[in-house]
Symmetry: C2
Subunit: 266 residues, 2 copies
DNA sequence: CAGTGGTCTAGACCACCGA
DNA sequence: CGGTGGTCTAGACCACTGC
């Protein structure tokens, strides 16, 4: 906003607080403040600005790049990652969206409910008082004409009120939450359970009878504050959790091919 | 074995093949050959041996440490990680074992089957001919007196023959596989599905009726070669997959507290 | 071409840990 | 205490990208 230039920034050279960590925190704050939407500074620029060695800059940048917050590569000018690029690292629910998109299938949603509610249990999970108004969205997610998941979301009304008039049928919730409300999810915790859908749920999801499903519960956070409670039911006959390529311990929720090749109940 | 000292080792200084990557590969090989069981060299020792800068050594070591193959920390002499410490990074099945152990519960198994079989489907998954003899182990895993998981494993008999006389009731399969057969799992791919156990499976696992379960299928590899096919059924009313702390996209299979606090079928 | 990051060197000081 | 890794500097050369 001010546009002022400070030649050097406030890095304290003292033990116990490495320069690269301080720099990392400062860069995080500036990313949060959208100071870099017009382009992220190169390593040498940061060396100059903060008066540290390039090695120190690279130590801080390595973290930001691993987190996917900044995209940088040899030759290209570096840039801040788009929310969507960050979100892909946020767990099973995102890989659900991506996995379906990766197969070139059209995704849409049938909105079953979009209203303001009060729910003491959900509010508690969000760390809010039990009477806090919440925007509640319930939708059935489809690929083509086939139901894939039943998605139930609660957001604090304080943040999410603009979404009450939004059209969720074609767009990602995260995208709308970011664009209309300025809330970008940066972190989250998920819990995944195998469940047997209730008859009502099964009617919505379709599929063979006695099919189990994934129950995914998720607390989404932005800058450390809870901003989303989500409970999604994913059809178990169409999706599997598979280890991520690198064997890093990560998992992806992947759409199974229509011909369930191997049931492998050997 | 030889005890010979080569002052410098074969690192080629040429573009397109960074020194730290070459060093990383050499160290991997030496780890595979158990050259470091009596202690892993420090950074300065590697600087001297390979005639590269400490920075280069650290670049290679960073990878080995992130992979958990080497344990190193300020002050302490570095060392090669034990198989168990590596295995903890090998997916949901290991965290099952650890999660139960972490709660201080006694783990044991009831062996239901331990014999040599031929199974064309499983053999194919292991990349073997359909008549290849396999060691098959089926066991019910318990914590205290309560069944937790039904575990079915197939191993190539060529590797696993010594296990036919082993006692699995108290010890981890991975530990025995490593100790008796010299096979240390280094990698693996898993697929996790929600399923409804068959009546027979449900009788073994116990729990409320109409409880869903995790079906975990796993192909375990050692040095790139498949050495294990596994199909485990985990009780869904006692375990959940939860995101790993760092939000790295990883998941752990965690034992739920006996009092299922939040069903959250909101 | 100029600017980017990728790699590498040769030093330095310090904090931590175990003997 | 000596050895470990953690941090930091000031340089250098190169490969890649896009103009």
């Amino acid at each position: 906003m001010t546009g002022e230039r400070r030649g050097t920034r406030e890095l304290r050279r003292e033990p116990g607080s490495p320069l690269w960590q301080q720099l990392l925190e400062l860069l995080r704050q500036r990313l949060d403040n959208d100071e870099f939407t017009a382009g992220f500074p190169g390593e040498l620029a940061l060396v100059e600005e903060y008066q540290v060695s390039r090695h120190t800059v690279r130590a801080a940048m390595q973290v930001l790049r691993e987190e996917g917050l900044v995209i940088a590569g040899r030759g290209r000018p570096p840039r801040q990652a788009e929310p969507v690029e960050i979100a892909r690292r946020l767990g099973a629910l995102y890989s659900l969206y991506e996995s379906v998109r990766g197969l070139g299938l059209e995704q849409r949603s049938v909105i079953r409910c979009l209203e303001v509610q009060r729910d003491a249990v959900v509010a508690a999970r969000l760390g809010l008082g039990e009477d806090t108004p919440l925007v509640h969205l319930e939708r059935l997610r489809l690929a083509g004409d086939e139901p894939l998941a039943l998605d139930r979301v609660w957001l604090p009304k304080v943040l999410a009120a603009p979404l009450l008039d939004a059209d969720f049928s074609r767009t990602s919730l995260y995208e709308l939450y970011a664009r209309l409300c300025g809330v970008v999810l940066t972190d989250g915790r998920e819990q995944i359970l195998p469940v047997l859908p209730t008859p009502a749920e099964h009617r919505l999801l379709g599929g063979p009878r006695d099919t189990a499903a994934f129950s995914i519960q998720r607390l989404g956070q932005a800058k450390g504050r809870p901003v989303e409670w989500r409970h999604t039911l994913v059809r178990g006959d169409r999706f599997a959790l598979t280890t991520a390529p690198a064997g890093t311990g990560g998992y992806r929720l992947e759409l199974l091919s229509p011909t369930r090749g191997g049931d492998a109940r050997s």
